[in-house]
Amino acid sequence: MNDTSKLIQKANLLLEISSLLMVSGANTNRVNLSIDRFATALHVKASSLISHKTIIMTLTDEETNSGCTRVQNIPPYLINFSIISAISKASWNATEENWSLEKISDEIETIKKLNRYPRLVILIAVSLAGAGFCNIFKGDYLNMFVAFISTFIGLYIFQETHKLKYNLYIRIFLGSFIASVIASVGILYHIGAHPQAALATSILFLVPGVPLINSFTDLMDNNILNGMVRFTTGSMIVLAMSIGLFLAMFLFQLT
C-alpha cells in the first residue's frame, strides 16, 4: 500500500512539473527531457502523452514493476521563461545529486512562487520594444513616441481584459484595435515622417512569437500534433490582430 501511494505521489509531481513547463512556453521535446531526468532521479520509468490541454502519464516502478497512470489538465498558458530556466537547473541537480521526492517537490513549490516583473516595468519595457520596432521600420523619433503610447495603452487594455477573464482572441482583438486606433490618429495629424511605420508597429506587441517558434521546433522533432496545435493557436492570434488593425484602418479610411 505504501509503495502504491508513493508511486501516485511521484506521478502527481511529474505531472505538475510537465504542466508547469507546458504553460510556461517550453516545447514538447523539453518537457519530455525534463520528465526523463526527474524520473531517473526518482527511480521510475515514465511514458507520457502530452497534448495541448491534457497530459497522460504512466509510471512504472523500476524495482517492484508496479504501475500507475494519471491524467492532468493543463491550466491556461502564460509564458514564463524564469520557470523553464529554474526547472531545467533543478532537473540537472536532481539527477546529479539524486534528490529525494520531498526535496524535488519542495524545489517545485519554491519555483512556483517565482515572481513576475512588476506590471509597470512590463508595460514600459514592452512599449520601449514597440518604439524600437518603429525605429527598425524606418520611423523617426516622433513616430517612435506614437508607437510607444499606442503600445502602452494597447497592452494596458490587454492586461485589464485578462483580469475580467475575457476570451484570449477577444482580448487580442481589443488590444490590437485600440493600439491601431491611437496610431491612426498619428496618421490623421501627420505626426512624424513615417506615421505608417507607427501604425504597423503599434500592434506587434501581440505577435505570437513563442507559439510559432515552438510550433516549428515541435514539427521538426516529429511532435506533429502539438506542432499543428501551436501553429493553429499562432494563426488564430495573427487573425485576431489583423482584424483589429483592419477595423481601425477601415474606420479611419486609411486605404
Binding site: G25, A26, N27, N29, R30, L33, I79, N80, F81, S82, I83, I84, S85, A86, S88, K89, W92, R116, Y117, V121, I122, A125, V126, S127, L128, A129, G130, A131, G132, F133, N135, I136, F137, Q196, A197, L199, A200, T201, I203, L204, F205, V207, G209, V210, L212, I213, S215, F216, T217, M220, V238, S242, L245, F246, M249, F250, L254, T255
Partner: protein, 162 residues
Amino acid sequence: MLDVILKLLEVSFWSGIAALGFGILFNIPRSAMMTVFVLGFCAGFIKFSLIHFHIHVVLGSLLAAFFVGIISIPLAHKIHQPPVVFSIPPVIPMIPGYFAYETILSIMNFIFTESDASKRVELIDAIFTNGFTMFFILISLTVGVALPMLLLKKNSVKKIDL
C-alpha cells in the same frame, strides 16, 4: 560611410531594446537580460548590414537567426540557462511586421475600394509579394534558431562538448 555605420548602430541598438522588452514580457531571469540585449543587438546588426549590401531580407533574417542559434550554445554553458530563454527574444524584433501590414493594406484595398482592373492586378501582385515574403521570413527565423541544435543531433546543450 560614417553616417551609414551610425545609422546601423542606432537600428541595432533599438533591436536590442525590442529584444529585451519582449524578454521582460516573457519573464526571463534577471541574469539573462544583458545576454538578450547583446544578442538582439548583434542579430539586428547582422540583418541590417546584409540588407545594406543588397542581400535579400529573407536570407538576411535566416543568417541572423542562425547566428543567434549557434552563439546560444556556448552561452548556455557560460550563464547556466537553457538556450530557449535567450534564443527566442532576440529573434522577435526580426518578425516581419511591416510586410504583414502591407499585405493587409493591399487586401483591404483590393476588397473594399479599388475597382480599376489594372490597379487590381497590381494589388494582387502586392498581396503575393508581401504575403510570401512575410511567410518565408517567419520560416527562416524559426528554422534558423532551431537548426544548430538539429545539426548537432543533440537534444540538450549540456551534452555538447566545447
